[in-house]
């Protein structure tokens, strides 16, 4: 076929990825891709971003040698402390990057989707700081579950728009944001929160999150004089995992991507009992990309499930789907129970309450220590303050 998209590099990862969107969105996405491509080469852009990451977000985050957990598991465990990033999770690395891109593209408004509210909060932070009008799409069900995060967004001047369609959760919030963007792209940037979706989001978000892996590489080399045997990260859409994995792709480092095993593999007509698109999903198109998704035999998207709201997504970034298929990344699962065990263990052993998402990585590491080798880094993608009520409820049920 005689058709070309300029700057096509990075649109696909093997057969995964792409740009499966309505025609109206093709041009905005290509413009975004081009603008981002230019900024990648702009020293001024990088200076500005670096300044915000350092002085506003609090980077670099520590690489912390977890003495007690190491003792417990009989090997050296380092924790990459994204829980210390402003806002409470790695999400801000990406929203700051995209916020600056949008600003330089002359956009005046940000829209974003959010599930648990972490990406919404990170977007609201950037909206306030960089002076955007900000609107966050959030499923009605999630708004009810995450009142405090809704209030945080509002305090920072963002408007939270309830999404009443579909399952009224994250995937519907993404749909709604895409619909909004289809008519507002001229002045609006759609700030996607994970390394999924249509080109250029998977590569752009990965790039902005790679600061995690870049730092970790430097830090582990300084601390141990070598690279780790393995790196463990949880996977929702895949941004924290790709962020810490990307700088190690060419090295002999085992990359373990831990998905939400939820309640197990069982699924009903409309609902999957997990968030494990790599583990239980099949090829399909969701939110603009060909990737692994949770779907029924006809191609209807299933509602996902996880005790961790941030892993409760029926798709996954296309690059991870590709890396899993080629064997470079090892997809693994931690179910709710394993995650809760990780949550409690890290709190008790180290005095660090991790996000329930991150607790999947910890719980996996604790239950499969032999998979880690002698020296491992676990990415603590966020802090667990937002999850206290959930864990209390889980324990009481």
């Amino acid at each position: 076929m005689n058709c070309q998209i300029e700057n096509a590099a990075g649109i696909k990862f093997g057969r995964y990825g792409g740009l499966f969107v309505p025609e109206t969105l093709v041009q905005p996405l290509l413009e975004l891709a081009e603008a981002y491509e230019q900024m990648k080469n702009s020293d001024e852009f990088h200076r500005e971003l670096k300044n915000l990451l350092k002085n506003f977000a609090g980077r670099p985050t520590p690489l912390y040698y977890a003495r007690n957990l190491s003792l417990e598991l009989g090997r050296k465990i380092y924790l990459k402390r994204e829980d210390l990033v402003h806002g409470g999770a790695h999400k801000l690395n990406n929203t700051l990057g995209q916020g600056l891109v949008a600003k330089r593209m002359g956009k005046t408004r940000l829209i974003a989707e959010t599930g648990a509210g972490q990406h919404g909060v990170a977007t609201a932070i950037v909206g306030a700081n960089l002076g955007f009008e900000t609107q966050i799409y959030m499923g009605e069900v999630d708004i009810e579950r995450q009142k405090m995060n809704v209030y945080r967004m509002e305090l920072m001047g963002a408007e939270v728009i309830p999404v009443r369609s579909g399952s009224r959760t994250l995937k519907d919030a993404i749909n709604e944001a895409m619909r909004d963007w289809a008519s507002t792209f001229e002045h609006t940037h759609y700030l996607l929160g994970t390394a999924a979706g249509a080109h250029p989001f998977p590569s752009m978000v990965r790039d902005f999150q790679s600061v995690i892996g870049d730092e970790a590489r430097r830090q582990i080399s300084e601390a141990e004089g070598r690279l780790p045997d393995s790196i463990v990260a949880c996977v929702g859409g895949g941004s924290n995992a790709m962020g810490i994995f990307a700088p190690f792709l060419k090295d002999d480092v085992r990359l373990l991507a831990v998905e939400a095993g939820g309640r197990g593999p069982g699924k009903t007509d409309k609902i999957a009992d997990n968030g494990a698109s790599l583990g239980y999903g099949t090829d399909g198109v969701l939110h603009g990309a060909l990737t692994k998704i949770l779907q029924d035999p006809y191609g209807q998207i299933l509602e996902s499930y996880s005790v961790a709201a941030g892993l409760d997504y029926p798709g996954v970034g296309p690059e991870l789907a590709y890396l899993a298929e080629t064997g470079r990344v090892h997809p693994r699962m931690a179910d709710d129970k394993t995650a809760i065990r990780g949550f409690r263990a890290l709190s008790r052993l180290e005095g660090i309450i991790p996000a329930l998402e991150s607790a999947h990585a910890i719980g996996y590491a604790m239950s499969e220590p032999d998979a880690l080798g002698e020296l491992t880094i676990i990415n603590v993608s966020g802090r667990g303050d937002k999850d206290l009520a959930t864990v209390m409820d889980y324990e009481n049920s």
């Binding site: 076929m1 740009l19 969107v21 309505p22 109206t24 289809a182 969701l286 209807q300 998207i301």
Partner: protein, 260 residues
């Protein structure tokens, strides 16, 4: 082939309905009534759980249809029995096509009497595998162009499309709106000579339909306005709307556009 042939009798009225709304059983009869009322081509939507190109009206119809038992197997059964009074066109999201297998899907279209396919989230760049299957089974793969599609790309899409070119009347998603924009007129004018052009997204009144025909389109596509009447159970008003639209575009044929 049936589609191109239909366009030799333009101006055409193309009507979109969501298959299975309010029930799979009701759809064939609806198709026949719409054809009788004046629809020249019927777009038969396959409902999807995540219809990112659709506004609230069609989203709601899809949810009703899925709840009523619509799925891809039922879809082709419904199409088969709807009869061949007018050409039918599949309209649905790529994941539903992908899940069934591209070749199988194109063949099922052919076998159930569907002449063409519109897949709104499948731009030509991603479409070659489906295109191959469609060619194999003699089904038209109809692409879309939008007001923000730049000239070179519009040319490419015009070359790639088969049957007709679906012009998106405006930015945004499907749904009834109250005016036709200058952007749409510009887009119609920009399409290379000789490509059959149908304009959809936001056309809900006979005046709007006439407007796009006067602006040079070969067909007007009406969707949400009809889906809305079906949702309300007002089938007679639906037939009247289709009839009025058909008359309005017939009168508009060859007239110069009214620029406001």
């Amino acid at each position: 082939m049936r589609i191109l042939e239909a366009f030799s009798h333009s101006p055409l009225l193309i009507v979109y309905i969501c298959s299975g709304d309010p029930s799979p059983k009701a759809t064939p009869d609806l198709v026949r009534r719409l054809a009788r009322a004046g629809a020249d081509i019927i777009e038969l939507g396959l409902p999807h759980s995540d219809p990112i190109a659709d506004g609230p009206t069609i989203q709601a119809a899809a949810q009703r249809a899925i709840a009523a038992g619509m799925n891809t197997d039922v879809y082709f059964d419904v199409a088969s029995v709807a009869g061949d009074a007018v050409p039918l066109v599949f309209m649905g999201y790529y994941n539903m096509v992908y899940a069934r297998g591209l070749d199988r899907f194109a063949k099922d279209c052919k076998d159930s009497g569907i002449s063409g396919m519109i897949v709104p989230d499948l731009p030509p760049e991603e479409a070659s595998p489906l295109k191959d299957a469609c060619v194999r089974h003699g089904v038209d793969l109809i692409f879309l162009a939008a007001p923000n599609t730049p000239p070179a790309r519009l040319k490419m899409i015009s070359e790639e499309t088969s049957g007709f070119l679906y012009l998106v009347a405006r930015k945004g998603v499907t749904g009834a709106r109250s005016d036709v924009l200058q952007d749409t007129r510009d887009l119609i004018a920009r399409v290379p000579e000789g490509v059959p052009k149908a304009v959809g997204f936001g056309i809900s009144t006979p005046e709007q339909a006439a407007d796009v025909i006067r602006a040079g389109a070969d067909a007007a596509i009406v969707g949400s306005a009809c889906v809305d009447l079906i949702a309300k159970g007002e089938i007679e008003r639906l037939e009247r709307l289709v009839k009025d639209m058909k008359e309005a575009i017939a009168r508009a044929k060859g007239k110069a556009p009214i620029v406001c």
